[in-house]
Amino acid sequence: MEKKLSVSAIKQGTVIDHVTAGNALRIVRLLDLPSGKKQVTVGLNLPSIAFGYKDIIKVSERELTADEANKIAILAPRATINIIKNYKIIKKFKVQIPETIQSVIICPNPVCVTNNEKITTFFYAQQKKYTILLRCKYCLKEYSPDKITEYHT
């Protein structure tokens, strides 16, 4: 049987694979992908052997930097970034949670000053083996990533 890609291959650019199912559109907004006028293809709820379901994002003619990739780590901690040239993967790396995360997460604490004043949110990320703990610099509350439900996207 002929093997077919669910999302068509790109000649040049970046493939963000193994995105947590349901988060691809948030990442598209977070990285402001449509503004570059480059072709962006998104696949939602694709079957994944490892995770059951996954999302995938393909951006033509744009190479994602490691910093940009790490910015999405909170939304897709298991994502893989593939840099493509002439339909071939020339670089592949996993996202890494940065030590600090600015202006991405909305603090879930309604009485946190960041939800009431016009300021950039700031979180410290602490990785303990396979769990991540996010601490708001302002209200000092700590959250696991599944408690974060809103993003500045």
Binding site: V111, E117, Y138
Partner: protein, 300 residues
């Protein structure tokens, strides 16, 4: 070490720094320095009502020879952003004391201000000078700060004073006892933190279970204003009322502390016992805040 340092959370202070503040507090209690901050101005910005903290912080500044400007009227909340307000006020003053209902407000203030900021309470988050005066009082009454047995009683879930105190006591190898109804017990994050730092603690529902063992009984008020559920408040508000009878089995040197105000949790008949120390504790707030002011303004 302290010059121009903002005091936002007790967690920002190392053991060494805490001990230095306690030493300075003791020195100022013994030998007042009425001219130390002459010519300096403190802006006292109380966006939320407060009696003890505001008066003792302002009195601390005045007793060191400084002057105080500011407001204590919550209606003075205008439409200005907090950031802008602090930016402007820091041009008028040498230090800012702030209380605000929003958690993290003092951190934001310290980023906006060009002068050091003292957090006098940001919602149910942090109130570091309360913790410093508590530590000072514990040390004063027990003549030491390490290896003490300390019970915290009442609202351990919403009470910021007990959160900060438990955190600070991790520097001093305390044995902690948390006495509260299940719904008001110490939050898991704090218990986890204690576990990680190797601090021994136990959870209790009755004061009788701990009274014989402890050096300090730290009572707290069940704070109606912090309760999201008023029914739950009605259910637990009078669950602990300390009276003379409880104290019969206590150690002679055991002292009762309370951040005040009290509602019903300490019977008036306890006030005359040798164990009551909460009014002296409140007075120590004056000296602890003097120490903080003198240190962060680089005068001590």
């Amino acid at each position: 070490m302290f010059k121009n340092k903002s005091i936002i959370s007790i967690k920002d202070l190392s053991r060494q720094e805490i001990l230095q503040i306690l030493k300075t507090t003791q020195a100022l209690k013994k030998n007042p320095k009425p001219k130390l901050l002459e010519g300096k101005i403190m802006a006292s910005l109380f966006f939320e009502p407060s009696t003890r903290t505001r008066l003792s912080t302002e009195a601390a500044m005045l007793r060191l020879g400084g002057k105080v400007i500011g407001f204590s009227d919550p209606s003075s909340k205008k439409k200005d952003s907090l950031y802008d307000t602090i930016k402007i006020v820091s041009n008028y003053s040498d230090v800012i004391a702030i209380r605000h209902s929003l958690e993290g407000a003092a951190q934001l203030a310290s980023e906006a201000a060009g002068v050091p900021v003292i957090n006098c309470g940001d919602g149910s988050n942090q109130h570091p000078t309360q913790t410093l005066l508590d530590l000072f009082t514990i040390q004063e009454t027990q003549k030491k700060i390490n290896y003490l047995h300390i019970a915290m009683i009442g609202d351990l879930k919403y009470g910021r004073t007990v959160h900060s105190l438990a955190n600070a006591l991790t520097h001093f190898n305390s044995r902690l006892y948390f006495v509260a109804p299940e719904s008001l017990q110490m939050p898991h994050e704090i218990l986890n933190d204690l576990k990680v730092k190797g601090i021994k603690y136990s959870l209790h529902e009755k004061i009788e279970e701990v009274i014989k063992k402890v050096d300090i009984l730290y009572m707290t008020r069940i704070q109606e204003e912090r309760f999201p559920d008023k029914l739950e408040y009605e259910r637990v508000k009078n669950v602990y009322v300390l009276n003379k009878k409880f104290l019969e089995e206590a150690k002679h040197s055991m002292k009762i502390l309370h951040p005040l105000p009290r509602v019903n949790e300490i019977d008036l008949d306890v006030d005359s016992t040798k164990h009551a120390y909460y009014f002296e504790q409140a007075q120590n707030g004056l000296y602890a805040r003097q120490a903080v002011l003198g240190l962060i303004m680089g005068k001590l």
